[in-house]
Symmetry: C2
Subunit: 303 residues, 2 copies
C-alpha cells in the first residue's frame, strides 16, 4: 500500500533499508519524524500553522496540507514509526519538472548553539547560500519520453556560481536540459512557466508580500519547491506551475519581527527569475560593476 | 579652520589626541582614511559610485556628496594625513535628532577570512543584527533647550530586544525621550517624521525598491542615518526628515546578485517603522505566535 515516491528530489530517501518518506495512492505523503527535536518541531509547526486563523487563504495554498501524525511501517524495516501525514505534492502529476530551493543565506536560527552554527555556516559558505541567498537542494528536469529526466547529483548543484544558477533556472524552462553546462538553453517555456498571472513569478511575489508583513514564523532551512509539467504544454494546456514551501524542522517563532533572512533570499531568487523573463536570450551575467575595483575588503580589518 | 563635528553619533571621534573626522565651515566632512584596505576600499566605492551613470538621481540623493581625497592636518596631531572629503550631513541643522542604524544581519562579506567572520559574527549575534536584521550604532534625540540631547551609551543600544528597539524608534519621534526605558513615549511627531510623502518611511521604501533591483554593490556594515529637527516642527515647519547611507569601507561588487542581506534588514526596519505609524499608541510586541510552542530547535541536529 505504501511505496517510495517517484519524484523526490531532495532529502533522505527510502529504500534499500534506509529511512525515508513514503506515499499511498490516495494522495498522502508520510514523512518519518526525525528522532531528535527536529521531528517534534516540524509537527509543532504544522499543528500551529494549520490552526492559525491569521494565515490568509492565498498563502495557505503554498503549504502542503497537514493530516496529523500516524504510526506506519517505516521504510527501513524498523517497524511502526511515527510519520507526519502530509499532502503528496506530486499526486496526479505526470513527469513533473521539480526544483527544491533552500531559501535564506543563513540556515541556522539565532538561538542555535555554536557547534550547530559552525556546521551550518560551513555549508552556507561553501554553497551558494551566502553569496546568492539560496541554494539548490535537488532538481529534476523532464526531457522527453526517450531521454526521461535530467537529475544532476546533489553535490554538483549546491556550490554553484551566480552564472551557473542562472543557467539551471533557464534549463528548467527549456526544451532540453541535459547537455553540457556550457550549452545555451532556449527558455522556450519561460513565459508560460515563470511568467503570466498564474506563473511561478506571480506566486513568488505573493509570497514575498506576505513575508514583508508576517512576524509569526521564521523559516530557517526551509525550501521552495517549484513544479510544472512540460508535457501539458505540448498538449496545449497550462503547465500547472506551482510553488510550495516544504521542510519546517527549523521554523521558530517570529516574535514580532519579519523573517528578513528568508525574505532577502526570496527577493534574490525573484530577481534571478525576473531577469530570465526580461532577457530570455541572454545567458551570462552582465558585468555590472566594471568601474569598481575588484574586492578590496580587508581580510582582518576591524569594522 | 577644521573642527570636531557637533553631531557625530557613531564611529571614532576626534579630540584628545584621537583620530577622527573633522568638518570645516563650508559644508565639508573630512573622514580620515583608515590605514588598511578599508580606507582604500571606501575611496574606491565613492569614486565608483559618483561616476556611475546607472545610479538614478532619486537614489543618489541618499548618499553623501563626494569631493575626492585631501591631505589635511589629522586630529590626533600626526600631521598631514589623507582624508575623504564628503558632504557634512549636519550642515545647517539646528539640534538634529539622529539615529545611525547598521543594516543587515551579516556585517561580513562572503570573501572574508575565517578570523574576520568570527569577529563579526560574535558582534552580530550579541547585538540585534542577527535577530532583527539591523542594530543601532549611535543615536541622539533632542529634548528641549533645557534638557539638550538624550544620547545613550553605544554599548547600551547595540544589544536590544525587539521591544527595546521599538521603544527607541518611538522615542525618536516623541516629545520626550530621556525618561526610563519603561516609560511610554507619546509618538507626537511620528506622522510628520516617519509618515507623509516626504517622510522617512517613504524614503526607506524608495531605497528598498532600488535594492530589489540593483546588483552593482553589496553594502556590508553600512548604516542608514536618519535625521530630523524637532524645533522646526514647533515653528510650524517641516521637520526636514532625511535618510542617508554612510560607511562604505566594506562595500563589495554585487556581481549580478541583489544585496539580499541589506535588503532583508532594510525590510525589517521598514516593518518596525510602519507599525509605529499604524499603531502609534501601542508599545509592546503583539504576542504573535501564541499557539506555536517555544523554540524547539535542536541544538545539534543536522539540517
Amino acid at each position: 500500500m505504501l511505496k517510495v515516491p517517484d519524484h523526490q528530489v531532495a532529502g533522505h530517501k527510502a529504500g534499500n533499508g534506509k529511512l525515508g518518506p513514503l506515499v499511498d495512492d490516495s494522495g498522502h505523503f508520510y514523512k518519518p519524524l526525525q528522532g531528535d527535536e527536529r521531528g517534534s518541531n516540524e509537527v509543532s509547526f504544522y499543528a500551529s500553522f494549520s490552526s492559525n486563523t491569521r494565515i490568509p487563504g492565498h498563502i495557505r495554498r503554498f503549504f502542503p496540507n497537514f493530516y496529523g501524525t500516524q504510526l506506519v511501517e517505516a521504510s527501513d524495516g524498523s517497524g511502526l514509526q511515527p510519520h507526519l501525514v502530509l499532502q503528496d505534492l506530486t499526486l496526479g502529476r505526470v513527469n513533473p519538472s521539480i526544483m527544491d530551493i533552500k531559501i535564506g543565506s543563513r540556515t541556522w536560527p539565532p538561538q542555535a548553539t555554536k557547534d550547530y552554527i559552525s556546521k551550518c555556516l560551513k555549508k552556507d559558505r561553501e554553497s551558494s547560500s551566502i553569496p546568492l541567498g539560496f541554494r539548490f537542494s535537488g532538481l529534476q528536469i523532464y526531457e522527453s519520453r526517450e531521454l526521461g529526466f535530467w537529475k544532476p547529483g546533489k553535490r554538483s548543484i549546491k556550490c554553484l556560481s551566480a552564472d551557473e544558477v542562472k543557467l539551471i533556472l533557464r534549463k528548467f524552462v527549456s526544451s532540453h536540459a541535459s547537455e553540457e553546462m556550457d550549452s545555451k538553453p532556449d527558455c522556450t517555456f519561460a513565459s508560460v512557466v515563470y511568467g503570466g498571472s498564474a506563473g511561478i513569478l506571480a506566486q513568488l511575489l505573493e509570497l514575498k508580500a506576505w513575508f514583508e508583513d508576517q512576524t509569526i514564523y521564521h523559516f530557517y532551512s526551509c525550501s521552495v519547491l517549484m513544479t510544472y509539467e512540460k508535457e501539458l504544454i505540448s498538449n496545449g494546456k497550462s503547465p500547472n506551475a506551482e510553488i510550495k514551501l516544504v521542510d519546517f524542522a527549523h521554523v521558530v517563532e517570529g516574535k514580532g519581527v519579519i523573517d528578513h533572512n528568508f525574505l532577502g533570499g526570496l527577493c534574490s531568487l525573484i530577481k534571478f527569475i525576473s531577469e530570465i523573463l526580461t532577457t530570455p536570450d541572454e545567458c551570462t551575467t552582465e558585468s555590472s560593476s566594471e568601474d569598481f575595483r575588484k574586492n578590496r575588503i580587508s581580510e582582518d580589518g576591524a569594522p
